[in-house]
Structures are given as C-alpha cells and as structure tokens.
Symmetry: C2
Subunit: 384 residues, 2 copies
C-alpha cells in the first residue's frame, strides 16, 4: 500500500511556485487565517511528546461600540496509544495520559476552549459489532473517570473542555449514547449533548451500539462564547447545523472519526459549508491512524474479512463564517490546532451577507412540516 | 492589477508531480469524474468560436433490475458580447447569437439538458441601481423573445433547456422576477421557477429590482430526469436545496453571477455540499469576465465610485451525490461543460449513506416551526 501523504497543504507548498501559491491558497482556503506565533513552551512540549502544533488567527474589523471578542480554540486529533488487545483500563489510562500532554501544551498556548475527537477514550471499535469489551468502556457523563479528569484539567488550566465519550446513561435504563460532555472552566459540568444522527454506513455500524440523542440542539453559554456540538455523522445533515445556529451558537464543534476511502473528499466541504450557511465558526476534528483488532470482521462490501478498516486521515481544521478556513492538521500525526478568532466577525458577516434576514424560515417550517407528513405528494410538474 | 489565473486545476497539473497529483486530486475532487471523449465537431466548433469545452463522465454500479439511466448535461458560462452602452436590442441579439454557437456544439456533444447562466440575456447591471435601460430588458417567461428562441433550439436539438432570465410578469402587475424558464425537448414551455432568496450584498443590490419568488420548490419531470433550479444566492440557503430534494429532484441547477473578491472561496463548497447532503447532482454555473458601465456607481464599501465591480470568475462545475465533482471550467473564458452521469447513482448513494432515512425530519419540522415563531427563546444552557 502506498504511503499516506502527510497533508494537502504541504504538497501545495512544496511544489507550487510562490507567485501562484497565494492565489491558489486564496481560492482553496480564503484569506482570513494568518499565522499565529506561540510561546516556545508549546513547541517544546510538541517536540518532546511528538505531536504537531499549528496556530492561526482570524480577525475581524474594529467596531466603535463593542470591544473585540477574542477567543482561542484548541482542537486535538490523536491515534490510540496501546493495541486494542491491551486491557481496557490500560488503554483508557494511556489515552488519558496522552491527551494530558496535549492539553498542557494548549494551556501554554492560552487556549480557552478545547475539544477532543469523537469517543476519544476508546478505539473506534464499532466496526467489530462485538459488545465486549467495548461497551464496558462507556462512562457516565456526570461523574465517570474521564469527566472527573477533565474537570481537573478545566479548573487547573482555566479552560472549557468538550469531551466526547461513549456514554452509559444509568438514568435511562443503562443505555449507550454518543455524547459530548461540556465542562466549564470553573470545573463544573455544564451539560451534555448527544449525537442526533447515527450512521448505518459500511464499518460504521453504530446503530448497533447506541441510539439517537434526545438533547436536541442546545447551546452552551461559556465565559468565552456560545458553543454547540454536532457529533460526526451529524455533519451530513444541514438541518442539524441549522438548528444549532438558530439557538445562537457562535462556534459549533464537529468531533468525528472517519476514514479516507469513505469520506475524504467530503471532509473539507461539510463543516466549512455549515460555517458559511449559518454564519458561525465550525471546528472539524477527525482521529488519526489505522486501528487493528484481534478478531477479523467484514465490512458489507463483498471483500474478505480483515482486521482494520482503513486510515483515519486527521486533517482537522477550523472554518470561519466568511468561508475562509485554516489549513488542516496532518493526515498522519497527532496534533493540536490552535485558532484565535474574534467572535465579532459573526455579526459583521451576518450584516454583510444577510442569510438570516433572507432565510424565509416560516415558509420552510410550513413546507418541511408538509413534506415530513405521511401522504406527502412531491411538487412535480410534468408535460401534458 | 495582476492577471487572473486561468484555473486552479491548471496550476495543480502544471506543478504537482504525477506521483502525488492523483492523490491531491482525489482529496480535492473525489475520484468519480473521468474524462469523456467528444466528437470532433464539438472541438471544431469550440475552436472556431473561441470557447472552452470540457467533458467528463460519472458512472454508477450496474444493477440487475434497473438499466443505467444515462444523461448528458451541458453547462454554459459566458461573457457579455457587446459593451453595456450598445442599444439593448443589439446587446440581447448578440448574446442570443453567441449562445446559439455553444448550443450547437452541445447538440454535437449529445447533450440532453442544458442550462445557461443567471439572467443570461443582460449584463449584470444590478450594481448600477439604475432602472433604465436594464428593466426594459426583462421579458415574459411565456412568450418573450428569448423563450421563443429557446423553444426553437429545444425542438431542433431535442434538448431540455433551462433559460434563466429577468422576467417581466404581466399577470402580477408587471413585476420583475429572477426566473428560470424550463423548456421541454418537445419545444413546450414546461414551467418556470423563480429565485427564492434575494441578496442585499454590496453590489448585488438585487432587491432594488425584483422580489422573492412564489414558485416554491417545484421539480420538473423531463424525459431525461427530474430537475430543479436554485438560482444564485439561493445556494447559501441549505433549506432551499433541501426542499428541492424532498420534492424529488435528481439534478439541481444553480445558475449564478458572482465575483472573486466576494465569494470565490465559497464557490467550490456550497453546491457540492448540497449534492452530498441531498444525494442528488448539482450544477454550479457562474458568468465570466468584467463588465464595464458608462455611469459610475459606488459599492457601499467606502471606496471611490467606479465603473465595474470585479471579475466574474466562471469556474462552473458539476458535483455528484458521493461528494466527487468535475474539474471546473476556466476562470477567464466562455465555456461549455459536458457531464455524462448515470442517475442510478442517486439511489445507490441514498442506500449507502442513508441521509434521508436518518434525517429525523419530523423533529426538525417541529423545531423550525418553533424557531420561526415570534417569541421564540433559544435553547441556551448557562452555568448556575
């Protein structure tokens, strides 16, 4: 198998001549994201612990009546640490330790809000369709070991933490959910938000494990801005993004786990489109690496059984409401993406592009209600 | 001012080494669009009349119970022909003649459905905010001169034609609308579809000229597939794309007119996202060139008055429901993009990705109805 290329951005920078590179980048990425310099503690930690750090800032125009609303967001992508055959307690501990290293670097980068990848405390074992030991790794979203650890970090580093886990909800008959826990920088659990749409695609047999969330489209007001979480497959559903926007979100995080052959050409499109259409910032986070399992499994594609289902291609990025985006993290390495943004850009772009004002939502509420009703007849015009 | 680069694709092909180029293209464009060979009549006409032709095919898996549903779609992008100061009758006649040359080539390329750019019979004069002579160029969507000409072409070439015009609707108090007329390959007018969302952005002062459409989200069933039209600024509204999908559209056309400084980084994102999210094909069409006006105008950006408002960057493309897309037409030249597709891909991707099945539309109908009501309170969670 060919070696994975490290990143699209790196290929462009290596080969396209300077005089054309800036125009190519403008067309591909917009021009708002500028390089941001970080303290040497950050790069030292990254080098010591072998992960990538990239940092950008996205400004906004000065206003007379509002001061700038500057916030730094950190996105974390990582491989699993131990083999999937290790005792699950050790697997989780190793992940806790690994992410602790990256969170410390984020602290030195003055990150205010950090988000980890989907179900970050477990390997992405849904392809196996086996229940043990993976279901054992689910945790309480109120006081599970991962929540407790994140509370410590949040308080120590004065950081809002979004921690996407596989949740065991004992208040609802011990069911499983795919849930992001939001921990305030005070260390308090602010609440949780569960995945609204579940894939039934290839190896992503996730409806085998958990059910659609019942937390709707809540938005969390933090000291650093109003945030919401649209987990993984929910990024394919524009209505999902839309309702987070109508509830006032300023930054919507999309912690994900997805592989190259399946989704890579869609990856740069969907979270970025959501930032444009809903006039907020979005954060697309994908895990990295290839995960091997002890027992073989099939993928519903007519091919022989195998023990891994492909390369998680990382490429985490942030998108701004004006359609620009940051370059992505690597396709192959653990990484921390730091983005400083001025949230005033949101209202400035709303006033410029007027998508909310021209949205005709009453019309769509009516049309969608009709279309979702049994007996709906599509509006199709035929030649007589 | 620097010269416009001809196209992103050309820069990539010129500079990125072969061994990396296919991987770069896969990440950027997906891998479904393959080169399609055209008869020499087409390339001869393109060379004679100085326009670009590109052609691709997008296949689908063979099925046992359905034969392939092959259709060829043509997209046309063009500059205006005469100066905007020429008599308007001559300006329109020149555009009719120019597009006639491209339609003839499309016929030789076996195109079944063709779509022209937004308000293709006029310069994009909305920046001027002047009423005469531009409003004079509006036409009936039933029997205006452009409709009559398109009916001739449709019948002669056995081609469905989508003709976006500035419409004068005498049945509604002589109002103006931004309307696409759909002409069947029999030569009959199948109907019309008007722009649902109107920009109030910078030079696109279009609400000065016409009002939101009242034709909803109708879909036209033609001999070659079910089509719909989402005009220009409607591409920023995911609900708009969504309702065309719920009404059964298989190909949604987005005839547009937009300039580089404003929207170019958004352009590859929005129509392509719509193809993914709604599991249909989309066609993004933009005009080309810089249009100069006799009288100066301002652009609401604090800058001095001027006589043009920037470069329409073409770059028309087609996107498929699996997230892949064709390369774009040029940023600088008139062009015809021919894409052959197998519409069976749509149901195959619906069955693979299951977006419709997992869409939870009843929930969104309820949430959207609440959010669109006066007195709606966003669902915001705060720390106690």
């Amino acid at each position: 198998m060919a070696e994975e290329i490290e990143s699209l951005e790196k290929v462009l920078e290596e080969h396209i001549p300077q005089e054309k590179l800036s125009e190519v980048k403008r067309i591909l990425f917009g021009s708002r994201a500028l390089d941001l310099e970080l303290p040497s503690e950050v790069t030292d930690l990254a080098s010591k612990h072998d992960f990538e750090v990239k940092a950008f800032k996205m400004g906004a125009a000065d206003e007379q009546l509002r001061p700038p609303r500057i916030v730094r967001v950190g996105l974390v992508q990582n491989k699993i640490v131990l083999p999937t055959s290790a005792p699950i307690q050790e697997q989780r501990d190793a992940l806790h330790q690994r992410i602790g290293q990256i969170v410390e670097a984020a602290y030195h980068a003055n990150v205010n809000i950090i988000c980890f990848q989907e179900t970050w405390t477990i390997p992405f074992a849904f392809c196996t369709r086996e229940k043990l030991p993976w279901c054992e790794m689910a945790e309480s979203a109120e006081d599970g070991p991962t929540v407790v650890l994140c509370q410590e970090w949040a308080k120590k580093y004065n950081m809002v933490i979004i921690s996407p886990i596989l949740e065991r909800d004992s208040s609802r008959g011990d069911i499983l959910q795919n849930t992001a826990v939001v921990i305030s920088n005070t260390g308090n659990v602010l609440g949780k938000s569960s995945k609204n749409h579940i894939p039934r695609v290839g190896d992503f047999n996730e409806s085998t494990y958990y059910i659609e969330g019942n937390t709707g489209h809540r938005v969390f007001e933090t000291q650093f801005g109003r945030i919401a979480i649209n987990i993984c497959y929910g990024r394919h559903h524009p209505l999902n993004w839309h309702m987070f926007g109508m509830n006032g979100a300023e930054i919507v995080f999309n912690p994900s786990a997805t592989v190259g052959a399946l989704s890579e050409p869609m990856w740069p499109i969907e979270a970025r489109n959501a930032a444009i259409a809903n006039t907020y910032f979005t954060a697309a986070i994908n895990r990295v690496g290839t995960e091997h399992f002890d027992h073989e499994f099939t993928s519903g594609d007519g091919k022989p059984a195998h023990k891994d289902f492909g390369h998680f291609y990382g490429s985490s990025y942030m998108a701004a409401p004006d359609g620009s985006r940051t370059p992505g993290l690597s396709r192959t390495r653990d990484g921390l993406l730091v983005t400083e943004m001025n949230l005033n850009l949101i209202r400035q772009i709303k006033d410029k592009w007027c998508f909310q004002m021209t949205g005709r939502y009453e019309m769509y509420a009516k049309e969608l209600t009709e279309a979702a009703s049994p007996g709906f007849k599509p509006n199709i015009i035929k030649e007589n």
